[in-house]
């Protein structure tokens, strides 16, 4: 075998939580590391910019988390959402999550104290002080101080995995960088409109992307094209219901609609299409994301009156208001008689027990008449957090082919491999833990491979 000269020991594709953990771990292990972040410095950090917390196993209270969250509990929570995910990898992940908060803290990330009275009580997750962008800032600072070379504005256009040492083509004009080991931590493909349309049809054009516009899935597609085994599902996303006026990208957490279950929700022809009272807890955001994704045009409208409008935190965008239901409909572009008929039927069906009887779909909780003007509405669209398609890895974060063999010197971390653990499900705070845990593993393994 001829030796090729390499530009670095470890090349990290991506600039979010998983990529930074990989870069830091590899650098601390003695490798020379180059990190390619597609975003500018100001918007660096991938979806981690919008994250808030990390779900970790712990057998006793830590400085950052109260109570205990044993491995069995974590695994059963994962099994509930993940279905047919990899049990061995899941067990490895849960065990490794136990000291990841310490490791991040040692790399400059600051967490809320577990005794902090500010936060809601949680025995399952540690909260980043200042949120995900503060975590991203801290990790970039640490990586830079350790000597990781960071290149912003560096979109990877191709991976070259066939002959010898891996290489990537980056930027405009094209530059090919060879490396001894490659860590792919480039997230999902939710910001790739063409690929999304393939999976979701024309409705995908109405989706907003809650995170980075750089999650275009080019490295993911390249890995799959080179024979990596897919995991998860290409046609599933983690999605929530957001205000329809949210920006196309990077809306993050604040565009979620708090009060969607308080009134009624209608599609663009003014018909109710689901039981608004079915899910009222924290899962309501996800539930409505998936419901609205199936609506014609992937749009719906949350409708309420002056009384209901006081029961939830208003959207950051002003409510659309009108003195009559018919007028409200015409402002929203819905046929007035249709919405008036829906509201009249809904009001008439409310029984004493805050629920409806005799209409389909019913509203089984929180049913109160929409009667007091002014009436209000928010447009509702789908906000996609990330897609649920990834590549299979082993316990050393090596990317596996369909035949079970590993690519030589190619590792994956973060959302690009999260479906190994999550399937096409979602568990709050787990994606950040997966990113950090497998980022650290991938970095260590890549460094060992490169320096061997």
């Amino acid at each position: 075998m001829t030796r090729v000269s390499c530009d670095c020991d470890v090349l990290v594709v991506g600039g979010g939580n998983a990529a930074l953990c990989a870069a830091i771990a590899a650098r601390r292990a003695g490798a020379s590391v180059l990190l390619l972040e597609a975003a500018t410095k100001a918007l660096r950090g991938g979806n981690a910019r919008h994250s808030r917390n990390m779900r970790v196993m712990h057998d006793a209270p830590t400085p950052w988390i109260r109570g205990r969250y044993p491995a069995d509990d974590y695994r059963s929570d994962l099994r509930r959402v993940a279905g047919a995910a990899d049990d061995g990898l899941t067990a490895l992940f849960v065990d490794a999550s136990a000291d990841i908060v310490d490791w991040l803290a040692g790399n400059g990330v600051r967490f809320h104290s577990g005794t902090d009275e500010v936060l809601p009580h949680s025995r399952k997750t540690a909260f980043f002080l200042g949120g995900g962008k503060a975590l991203v800032n801290a990790l970039y600072d640490t990586a830079g101080r350790l000597g990781v070379i960071i290149r912003y504005d560096s979109t990877v256009r191709a991976l070259h995995l066939r002959d010898g040492a891996p290489a990537v083509t980056v930027g405009e004009p094209n530059l090919t960088i060879r490396t001894r080991a490659l860590v792919v931590a480039s997230g999902g493909f939710q910001a790739n409109p063409g690929w999304m349309r393939q999976q979701w049809g024309g409705g995908a054009d109405g989706f907003t992307i809650r995170g980075t516009p750089h999650a275009t899935g080019i490295p993911l597609k390249a890995l799959l094209g080179d024979g990596a085994e897919p995991v998860g599902a290409a046609n599933r996303c983690h999605m929530v219901a957001v205000d329809g006026r949210a920006p196309q990208f990077d809306g993050g957490i604040v565009t979620r609609l708090d009060g969607i279950v308080q009134g009624i929700v209608v599609d663009r022809v003014g018909r109710r299409f689901a039981d608004e009272g079915a899910v009222v807890g924290s899962k309501r955001y996800t539930a409505w994301g998936e419901l609205v994704a199936r609506c014609p045009g992937a749009i719906a409208f949350s409708i309420f009156d002056a009384v209901i409008g006081e029961r939830f935190r208003p959207s950051i965008f002003p409510a659309i208001r009108a003195d009559g239901v018919g007028e409200l409909a015409s402002v929203l572009g819905i046929a007035s008689p249709a919405l008036e008929a829906t509201v009249t039927a809904f009001n008439a069906a409310i029984t004493g027990g805050d629920a409806t009887a005799g209409i389909h779909p019913p509203k089984t909780q929180l049913a109160v008449p929409i009667a007091v003007p002014p009436f209000g509405a928010y447009p509702v669209r789908v906000g996609v957090t990330s897609t649920c398609l990834g590549v299979r890895i082993d316990g050393r974060a090596r990317v596996l082919r369909r035949d079970g063999s590993a690519f030589d010197g190619v590792y994956a971390a973060g959302v690009v491999m999260a479906p190994n653990i999550l399937g096409s499900g979602y568990l709050a705070g787990s994606a950040m833990a997966i990113g950090a845990v497998f980022g650290r593993i991938a970095g260590l393994e890549a460094a060992a491979h490169a320096l061997h």
């Binding site: 808030r52 200042g130 979620r256």
Partner: protein, 378 residues
């Protein structure tokens, strides 16, 4: 007069920012602003008055903000609150005819401080130049009563006392108006525990701590520099007042006349306090000039720095007087120092100094709200 459109624009910007912050709340561990914000569903004018003065301008929330520019939301909470805050100084200034008319931003604000300080120096200097014979003014004086041979004690105490009284009255009325401006006081609150909390917050500058590691003085990295320089300045001023207090006791109770020996209480307190003021004022000004311009309302830097410059000059002239009191420079230095102190007293109600009592009032209000909430929970 600035146009009201600007004022309304600042208020609208701040309200939009706070609405987004309230929906996010990722920064709730940084300071008490977010905790107070969380208790509010909608942001009223009174809330803006309160929250803008509760903000210590540490800028941690800007550097941690996922919506900061160049994001489409263009969120800049520290800057938005700074602009509203200086508006509250204008709105609550005393006497009422000054309301909305005095500048607290830009060069006009610098001009006010400079003009008042200069007039005060002239006020002290001119009569002295006219009435004190040059050989006395520029002569060497030593021993007890040396200062008062130039400027009689009664004149110093009388003029400084009168100016101070006016300023304290004006600041007091301003704070009372501001207190009402923050909206009704939460009912049934134990005042003393809240006062204790607020005093503790003010004395430690807990809210400049960014939840532990300091705040973003210059860029996204955390540092305790601003907090330490502010402590140096604040406690420096406190020590200087303690020095004056000790000197008053020496003069009236013990019958000892200034100047006092180097190892006496007034000189020790004043010397350490003056040094603290020099270091604090210079450090704060330097941090201000080197700060990341992103979250800074540039129009306010001049007003901030003019107060720092005045405090620096007060301390420098005082220390100069101490160092050169045995020489012929004592007379002119004494006049300049007295003039600058007088000027500082006179500008208290009309400069950035107002941030101190307003911030304390806001901290007290926040502590009262916390008490209220804890009781509600209990």
């Amino acid at each position: 007069m600035p146009c009201t459109d600007d004022t309304q624009q600042s208020a609208a910007d701040a309200r939009r920012a706070l609405d987004i912050c309230n929906a996010c709340q990722f920064c709730d561990g940084y300071c008490t602003v977010f905790r107070a914000l969380k208790m509010r569903r909608l942001i009223s004018v009174a809330d803006l008055t309160f929250l803008s003065n509760l903000c210590h301008n540490c800028r941690s929330c800007y550097h941690a903000c996922q919506y900061a520019p160049p994001h489409a939301f263009d969120l800049n909470l520290p800057k938005s609150l700074s602009l509203v805050r200086q508006q509250t100084y204008r709105d609550h200034v005393w006497p009422p005819p000054f309301r909305g008319r005095l500048p607290y931003a830009g060069w006009p604000a610098v001009a006010v401080v400079a003009a008042v300080a200069l007039s005060a120096v002239m006020l002290v200097g001119m009569p002295a130049l006219i009435w004190i014979p040059p050989d006395v003014l520029f002569g060497r004086h030593s021993g007890p009563g040396a200062f008062y041979r130039l400027v009689p004690w009664g004149a110093i105490a009388g003029v400084a006392g009168a100016v101070m009284l006016w300023s304290l009255l004006a600041v007091g009325f301003s704070v009372a108006s501001f207190w009402r401006g923050m909206g009704p006081v939460p009912a049934g609150v134990a005042f003393l525990p809240a006062l204790r909390d607020a005093l503790c917050d003010a004395a430690t500058l807990r809210n400049l701590g960014g939840g532990g590691a300091g705040c973003n003085d210059r860029d996204e990295r955390f540092s305790q520099a601003r907090r330490r320089f502010h402590h140096a300045l604040f406690y420096g001023v406190v020590l200087c007042f303690a020095s004056t207090g000790a000197a008053t006791i020496y003069h009236h109770r013990l019958g000892w006349q200034a100047p006092y020996p180097l190892l006496s209480l007034p000189v020790l307190l004043g010397g350490i306090g003056g040094a603290g003021m020099l270091i604090g004022a210079a450090g704060l000004a330097l941090l201000k000039l080197r700060a990341d311009p992103g979250p800074v309302a540039r129009s306010l830097t001049g007003a901030d720095c003019s107060l720092l410059a005045l405090l620096f000059l007060v301390a420098a002239s005082g220390l100069g007087l101490l160092a050169l009191r045995e020489t012929a420079a004592m007379g002119p230095l004494l006049l300049v120092h007295l003039g600058l102190v007088l000027g500082w007293f006179a500008t208290l109600p009309y400069s950035k100094f107002l941030h101190a009592p307003f911030r304390f009032a806001a901290l007290l209000r926040a502590a009262m709200e916390r008490q209220c909430k804890e009781w509600g929970r209990g």
